[in-house]
């Protein structure tokens, strides 16, 4: 037995935001950040909600690496205000913060770190969640994941619960149009990593497979196009959908070791999520192929890589990932990120330790030992071909 959890409604396409006018409720708390506010999106969303007859308040203190304290502050505001809707507006960090604030609002008795699939939260007694992504990457708008930074321990807490999956997700292609190219690339390659890891995970299923493959095809076709031409509306729209599809895929399958390595690297060196995860893909595909060769060959086939054997297909896929990263001006090795070998080496134990503890390790097709994680970190730093 397994389950596939999605929002009850996914609204997509031009004008999707207007769906908000039809939502029934009394008080909405918009959870967002100052950048999104500056772009004028908050006003637009608030206007629609008011047209629906709702009172609206805004919490815009979310930061890219939002901490437990920010979540607690948001929950305090929510308790004073008493919303029956949370409206998460922004990138993955805004949506994840909204999920955590919602949990603390409904369950003042639990702490952020306790959010887990193993406990019953009993949400939706007071409020529900609408998610509106402004980037095309994390898939948080439809996922069960909540990533919160524990600033004291410099650790990314990878929390999850099926209960935090949004009720309504609005995938409006107008919103990501405002993304600068670098953010487009960083978030787009996260979607690629999400989909690829979902497809090879031990927890994959037919439903997640279909969405993962669908997302991968779109990403290879449209991501570099939108990176080169940010105004390309068709490519924007496709990428916005692909990110959500990848989110549905990994949220109902599981992320893998590229995320384990990436979260670890990102927590220590403060580098954007997508970049830290995708840089490891060429190495983790090679590493995983020992157990999941046929799966990668299927991905290769889906993006029209010609090959006679599965081995050739995997080689072609790794090359295609590298090529895409280069087209996006993304690093293909850790040293290209401006980290010195001395610094990296001194933190290697810590990096390995964190990767082992990551939820990306659990259902990966091949479960790395500490020694293998160490080697993956080293090979990916130097840009060496994985041979173990």
């Amino acid at each position: 037995m397994w389950e596939f959890t999605t929002p009850r409604t996914i609204v997509m396409g031009e004008g999707a935001l207007e769906y908000l006018k039809e939502v029934e409720g009394k008080r909405a708390l918009i959870v967002t950040d100052k950048v999104i506010r500056g772009l004028g999106f908050v006003e637009k969303v608030a206007k629609h909600l008011k047209e629906a007859g709702m009172d609206v308040k805004v919490f815009d203190d979310v930061e890219p690496e939002h901490s437990i304290e920010i979540v607690e502050r948001g929950a305090e505001l929510a308790r004073e205000y008493g919303p029956d809707w949370f409206v998460a507006l922004g990138g993955g960090s805004c949506i994840d913060a909204a999920k955590a604030i919602w949990v603390l609002y409904e369950r003042p008795d639990i702490r952020v770190g306790e959010i887990s699939p193993l406990i019953k939260l009993g949400l939706r007694k007071k409020a529900k969640l609408i998610s509106i992504p402004t980037t095309s990457g994390t898939g948080s708008e439809v996922s069960w994941a909540v990533v919160i930074t524990n600033t004291e321990e410099m650790r990314k807490m990878e929390l999850a619960s099926k209960e935090v999956v949004a009720d309504i997700s609005i995938i409006d292609p107008e919103l990501p149009l405002s993304m600068p190219p670098k953010l487009t690339a960083d978030t787009g390659i996260d979607a690629l990593a999400n989909a690829m890891e979902a497809y090879v995970s031990q927890w994959r299923n037919e439903f997640s497979d279909a969405l993962a493959i669908g997302a991968i095809k779109i990403i290879f076709e449209y991501l570099s196009r939108v990176y080169k031409n940010p105004e390309d509306k068709e490519a924007r729209e496709k990428m916005h959908y692909a990110a959500t599809m990848a989110g549905l895929a990994f949220s109902n399958s599981q992320i893998g070791v590229a995320h384990a390595l990436g979260h670890s690297l990102g927590a220590i060196f403060k580098i954007p999520h997508g970049r830290t995860v995708a840089v490891f893909l060429p190495y983790t595909i090679r590493y995983n192929a020992k157990e999941a060769m046929d799966r990668y060959a299927t991905i290769a086939g889906a993006i029209n890589i010609k090959s006679e054997t599965d081995q050739q297909a995997v080689d072609g896929l790794i090359e295609a990932v590298r090529k895409l990263l280069r087209e996006l001006d993304e690093p293909t090795s850790v040293q290209e990120m401006g980290i010195s070998w001395e610094d990296y080496q001194s933190k290697l134990n810590d990096l390995v330790e964190r990767a082992i503890a990551s939820t990306g390790t659990i259902a990966n097709p091949r479960v790395p030992t500490a020694e293998e994680y160490r080697k993956l970190f080293i090979y990916a730093f130097k840009g060496e071909e994985v041979d173990f």
Partner: protein
């Protein structure tokens, strides 16, 4: 080899011996420190709750035996579920971690700590599969 009844004292003793022969488990759990109560709650022919105490330490099983009740022995972790789910777990139909996510089993103790040793957990299940088992 004669089939051993699950759950029974003979079965858990055989499990201990098999764990201590499993090199893959030893490697995956070489830093593990922590003991368990494995509890099968009554259903499908199991009339009374059965509690195993299993002490796992640095890749080895130091001790394993049946205890009279869940209050008779303290352990860092409790992994419990109905007898029918234990049967499925041993037969490889339920994965030990996925079983927790689907609430087929319940864990008391730090999930974070368990998550770091999922390979060890699946090796424990593989070990259980090596024992010729007769179910109720």
């Amino acid at each position: 080899m004669e089939k051993l009844k699950f759950p029974s004292e003979e079965w858990i003793k055989a499990f201990k011996e098999e764990v201590n022969r499993n090199k893959a488990y030893e490697e995956a759990a070489k830093d593990w420190e922590g003991d368990f109560l494995f509890i099968a709650t009554p259903d499908e022919g199991l009339e009374k709750e059965v509690v195993f105490y299993v002490d796992l330490w640095h890749g080895k099983c130091r001790d394993a035996y049946v205890v009279p009740s869940r209050d008779a022995k303290k352990a860092e972790f409790i992994y419990e579920g109905p007898y029918s789910n234990w049967k499925k777990l041993i037969m490889g139909e339920i994965d030990p971690i996925r079983g927790l996510l689907m609430r087929k089993f319940k864990l008391t103790g730090s999930m974070m700590k368990i998550m770091r040793y999922t390979k060890a957990a699946s090796e424990l299940v593989k070990t259980a599969q090596k024992i010729p088992t007769e179910f109720i």
